[in-house]
């Protein structure tokens, strides 16, 4: 009875998630003219498979094994289901019949429908099969794919984006470097900061300091201040400079539910 409920609910959840992920992933290829959703890593990995169905399928398969091991062990599907398995398998499904990426991988309608179909199968299978998969396959996933993907996210993607920012001109190079370094400190990865640097640098190149670039600049400052505060960067900074953490700051963190360790 419990398994049946899990299966029925998983079908609904898989369809909803797959639909959103598929449409969002396809829209990433039209960013920033169209608002997409996914992640820069998803975007980079989809590009790495270069519209080849076998590559998309095998990349997703590796992370399916990883998710499987995680859901059997801890009930957690891992973020890879949304970031990697569903988008890559949806792409593989579509590219099988039509190799033209503009009509398949880059088309939100096609990807949403394929994503929903893949989501139903993947989420249901993962949630309902508590029996273990071959351990040797899990090991390949965790020992080969996970480190490779981590290297791609850091340091490869920061370096590639950094060089692109510097090659695009003095202004994007400076903004990309400063915001990239700060972003790696505060958010743990330089890519978002470098991208924001390219946005501001190119925005200034094209139109100078106007209302739009100024409001973007303020939004970026807010982004850094708030994510720094909520990730405890302020406390870590004071600590590494051997400054006593003031009581009001500890209390401020407490009001937002995070505990400052002395």
């Amino acid at each position: 009875m419990v398994t049946l409920m899990i299966v029925l609910k998983s079908i609904v959840i898989g369809a909803l998630v797959g639909f959103g992920v598929g449409a969002g992933a396809a829209r990433m290829f039209h960013a920033p003219n169209v608002q997409g959703m996914g992640a820069f890593r998803t975007f980079g990995e989809l590009n790495a498979c270069a519209g080849d169905p076998i590559s998309h399928f095998s990349f997703g398969l590796g992370f399916l094994f990883n998710a499987w091991a995680s859901v059997v062990g801890a009930g957690a599907l891992t973020q890879d289901v949304d970031h990697r398995v569903i988008p890559n398998w949806a792409a593989a499904l579509l590219l099988w019949r039509n190799k033209n990426v503009a009509e398949t991988l880059h088309n939100p309608k096609q990807m949403a429908i394929a994503g929903a179909a893949v989501g139903v199968v993947v989420v249901t299978v993962l949630n309902s099969t508590a029996t273990a998969i071959p351990e040797s396959m899990q090991l390949v996933a965790t020992k080969v794919l996970v480190p490779a993907a981590n290297w791609l996210i850091n340091p490869i993607m920061p370096i590639v984006f950094w060089m692109a920012a510097m090659d695009a001109g003095k202004r994007t190079g400076i903004w990309g470097t400063v915001l990239g370094g700060l972003s790696h400190l505060v958010m743990g990865n330089a890519v978002p900061g470098i991208v924001l640097g390219i946005l501001i640098g190119k925005g200034l190149d094209d139109s100078g300091w106007n209302k739009i670039t100024k409001s973007m600049f303020i939004a970026v400052i807010l982004l850094f201040v708030f994510s720094g505060f909520f990730r405890g960067f302020d406390v870590a900074l004071l600590k590494s400079m051997y400054v006593e953490i003031p009581q009001w700051l500890i209390e401020l963190h407490e009001t937002f539910g995070s505990v400052v360790k002395k």
Partner: protein, 216 residues
């Protein structure tokens, strides 16, 4: 990257909140599954463990603060770069942070009832999607600059090319048979003009199934 003047419902601004609503609804309902059956949360073990700590009576502060901060940062970043990071915003923010806030405040209904979980997630997702589109209206869309879209696209494409070699190196460091499998697989794929990442994974998996990687 193809047709930049893409038009119609699937490319429109107002369709975006609907897509976010779908995804957030599914993710929030996934947390409902986890709360009730202990399976199905859309996040990594370490992050789900923070929610689990709260469920087991250890307080929801960590999960709530972590989730809320990611949600906030990604909502600001999303409209600026054109890509909403679903890992931080929806999977961690909506899937972990918001449930932790609700449970911490004593609201269990959105997590114990499946229809209510779907509705809560959809509503939150729709709000987030709308906020992002509104921020866009006052920044990117109000200008005739492309804000370096070509630079970012180029970097995204270039970064992707590194994945194949990285998988081969990682496979070689895992074990000799797995490394050989990845190398040969990648070479075969390269010969047939296919991305080498796929061949490396298939080769590593095949030999890894026959000669398992030592666990020590």
């Amino acid at each position: 990257m193809g047709e930049l003047q893409a038009k119609g419902f699937w490319y429109s601004e107002w369709a975006f909140p609907l897509f976010v609503a779908c995804l957030a609804s599914g993710i929030f309902a996934g947390t409902h599954l986890y709360y009730v059956y202990h399976v199905g949360a859309f996040n990594d073990i370490a992050i789900v463990a923070m929610l689990e700590a709260g469920i087991k009576g250890g307080g929801y502060g960590a999960a709530a603060a972590f989730g809320a901060s990611f949600l906030f940062a990604r909502i600001l970043e999303g409209p600026l770069v054109g890509i909403l990071d679903i890992g931080g915003s929806l999977q961690t923010g909506i899937g972990i942070g918001v449930p932790a806030l609700m449970l911490g405040a004593g609201f269990t209904a959105p997590l114990t009832s499946f229809p209510l979980a779907l509705a809560t997630g959809a509503l939150l997702g729709f709000i987030i999607g709308t906020v992002i589109i509104l921020i866009r209206k006052y920044t990117i869309n109000a200008s005739n600059s492309t804000f370096g879209a070509d630079v970012m696209m180029g970097a995204g494409n270039a970064a992707g090319r590194y994945l194949g070699p990285l998988i081969i190196i990682s496979a070689i460091m895992a074990s000799i048979p797995v490394g050989l499998g990845a190398t040969v697989g990648a070479a075969i794929f390269y010969y047939y003009n296919k991305p080498i990442a796929g061949g490396a994974i298939i080769g590593a998996m095949l030999l890894g199934a026959i000669f398992p990687i030592p666990t020590q």
